[in-house]
Amino acid sequence: MESASQSSREAILARIRAALGTSAGAPSAPVAAPGGIFPPIPNPLERFVAECAANFTELTVTANRVETVEVLARILHELPAGEIYVQDIPELRELITRADGKDVTWSSQGPPAEACQATVTQAEALVAMTGSILVSSLGCGGRGSSVVAPCHIVVARVQQLVPTIEQALALVKERGLPARSSFVGLITGCSRTADIEKLLVIGAHGPRRLAVVLQQ
């Protein structure tokens, strides 16, 4: 199979080069920022709040650590009985302890179980333009941590907010995520489908509840 693959690879590349009429391409044009395509965002936090409401992200803004713990405790308490899966970092270890989280599996112990009720992670960044969370497998406890459970809880800081998708992608590059993290994703609201009569149903295969606790 290997040699067949090699010959196809060479054949395809040869066909592409013949089609383009050159074997060395011109250097790519400098990246033009998509300026003027999207309206400016004068108040990112305000925009983030509005977009979260529109995409059904449950956003709670807290003033300090104490409030964050309170909110987290409330959300955990509301969950049906069962395991919660938490990204294993010191900040979340501390928060979960303070919020009296029970039945915890940590990301260092392996992937999330199918039946877990919630996952708790941090985010790489937040995006105001679309009310999105930027996550990565390296920085947020793996891949399943943001999609397996019916409820995904994100603990974040306002400083993590960037205005646009463009800036979020620049951040991905700056942090060298492509080289270090096999998965990077932008999550915008909870899972949904409109495949039946174009009627929007919230909660398909991914989480039907996305709760973001955003501390000032």
Binding site: S108, V148, S182, S191, A204, H205
Partner: protein, 470 residues
């Protein structure tokens, strides 16, 4: 037109255009889509500039396609992934099937991928004794019904909730109610078992990001995320033309794809994947394979007139804008890709048997108007028609007819004589009541329309009679 594909298209389209219930459902779906898209476009300061940018990005991508594919491959391999280059459907199919068999795969979960439809992957896997579960809800529904997807973005748009409820009650164990929520919940329960018991997940890719060395997948349901997170092997199958040069390009492409596809600002899950699980990661597949499919694309790349057809980002907007699609429905095409892009692309991928699709258009241009990457689809239909005449030939009667027409039109006196004769004959026939009968040469017209009244005098006869009264 000749060949069974053309005949089948005609047969199905005749049936579908008469189906008023189908027309009602599709009209309703598309009206909803139009409303959502108009709302979505208003989020852009300059939608036209967005289209320009997307067109520019795709032009750049194709201009150095070989370099970008190599840049992508290098990074995937560095992370422990594998890249397989498939010249055609068969090679792609064989690679995935042989891999699955070699790894002892019994069950596969699939997220939406038009390329996997194009290469007929599922039947090959099933023949090898492997269970394949479509996990995109629309794809899952049509899979249960044993029919192909109706539309490249919304595969089940031809079905009503009640039809889907009936289907689920027949096929799934615990369907309790008929409402949309309950149906989606039933699908979730069934598919969740599949996600967590499958050894392989297969996905497509919306984009191949060259500088980051990652594929990008846009979904709403989360099925794409689960397919690429839970099973121990992830295979991504994609066309070679999906390249974009830079990660930054997604800043415009993601919102444009979502807006044109469904009217959303962005899809719920905009995912980038570059390899199998890396050291230090909590979970993820042990193996990552990318299958790059050519299957006629490099040939299209070599066509300077039609290369831009490869810019397509598979948003489905042209299908929704097309009045022909709306009336004949997605299944009538009999092809993986339907609507205007399907009509333009299919002869290049599957040959002369599908030339008829390029003729089944009124050339209204609505497709080109909505295309986010500015492909002049209706002009490419004209080019396909010209190519069809030159290479495959058209029915000899038509060829003779146009030669005669051309000869007649090259002389004003010939034109006058022949048209005068034709008009006189028509007036006689219609006055005798032969309109629509077997004698009527315009029967193809009069089958559906009242015949026009034939004027006594042509314009030029009137003009000449006015001589001196200018």
């Amino acid at each position: 037109m000749r060949g069974t594909a053309a005949q089948e298209f005609l047969r199905q389209s005749v049936e579908k255009t008469a189906d008023l219930e189908h027309r009602r459902i599709i009209r309703w779906n598309i009206d909803n889509y139009d409303t959502a898209v108009n709302r979505g476009k208003s989020r852009f300061a300059d939608w036209q500039a967005a289209r320009d940018r997307c067109q520019q990005v795709k032009r750049e991508a194709l201009a150095r396609l070989d370099d970008y594919l190599l840049q992508f491959e290098k990074q995937v391999v560095a992370r422990g992934g594998k890249v397989f280059w498939a010249s055609n459907s068969e090679e792609a199919r064989n690679y995935v099937t042989e891999l699955a068999v070699a790894r002892g795969v019994k069950r596969i979960v699939k997220s939406k991928s038009m390329v996997t439809e194009e290469i007929h992957l599922s039947p090959a896997l099933e023949k090898a004794g492997i269970e394949v579960w479509e996990t995109d809800l629309g794809e899952y529904i049509v899979q249960l019904r044993n029919e192909p997807p109706y539309h490249i973005v919304t595969p089940a748009m031809h079905l009503t909730r009640l039809q889907i409820a009936e289907l689920f009650r027949a096929k799934l164990p615990d369907v309790t109610a008929d409402d949309h929520q309950s149906l989606v919940a039933a699908a979730r329960r069934a598919l969740r078992k599949a996600f967590f018991s499958s050894e392989m997940g297969i996905s497509g890719a919306n984009f191949i990001v060259a500088d980051a060395g990652m594929i990008a997948i846009s979904t709403n349901e989360g099925n794409g995320r689960l397919c690429t997170s839970v099973p121990r092997i992830h295979v991504a199958v994609t066309g070679i033309e999906k390249v974009v040069p830079r990660l930054q390009d997604l800043a415009v492409l993601w919102p444009v794809l979502a807006t044109a596809g469904t009217g959303q600002p962005i899809t719920t899950y905009s995912t980038l994947i570059g390899g199998p699980r890396q050291p230090g990661e909590a979970d993820g597949p042990e193996e990552f394979h990318v299958v790059l499919v050519d299957n006629g694309r490099s040939q299209l790349l070599a066509d300077p007139e039609q290369r831009e057809v490869l810019h397509c980002i598979r948003c489905g907007a042209c299908l929704n804008a097309c009045p022909v699609f709306r009336h004949v429905g997605g299944h009538s095409y009999g092809t993986t890709y339907q609507g205007p892009i399907g009509s333009v692309l299919t002869p290049h991928l599957r040959g002369q048997d599908f030339n008829h699709l390029s003729f089944a258009s009124s050339l209204c241009g609505a497709c080109a108007e909505v295309c986010p990457v500015r492909i002049s689809l209706h002009h490419h239909l004209l080019e396909n028609r010209r190519n069809a005449v030159r290479t495959a030939g058209q029915p000899w009667k038509e060829g003779m007819g146009f030669k005669l027409w051309s000869w007649a039109m090259r002389s004003a006196s010939r034109y006058r004589v022949l048209t005068g004769l034709a008009r006189r004959a028509a007036r006689i026939l219609y006055s005798m009541g032969y309109e629509g009968s077997w004698i009527d040469p315009a029967a193809a017209w009069t089958a559906y329309r009242a015949a026009p009244a034939i004027p006594r005098q042509s314009f030029r006869q009137w003009w000449e009679s006015q001589d001196g009264k200018r």
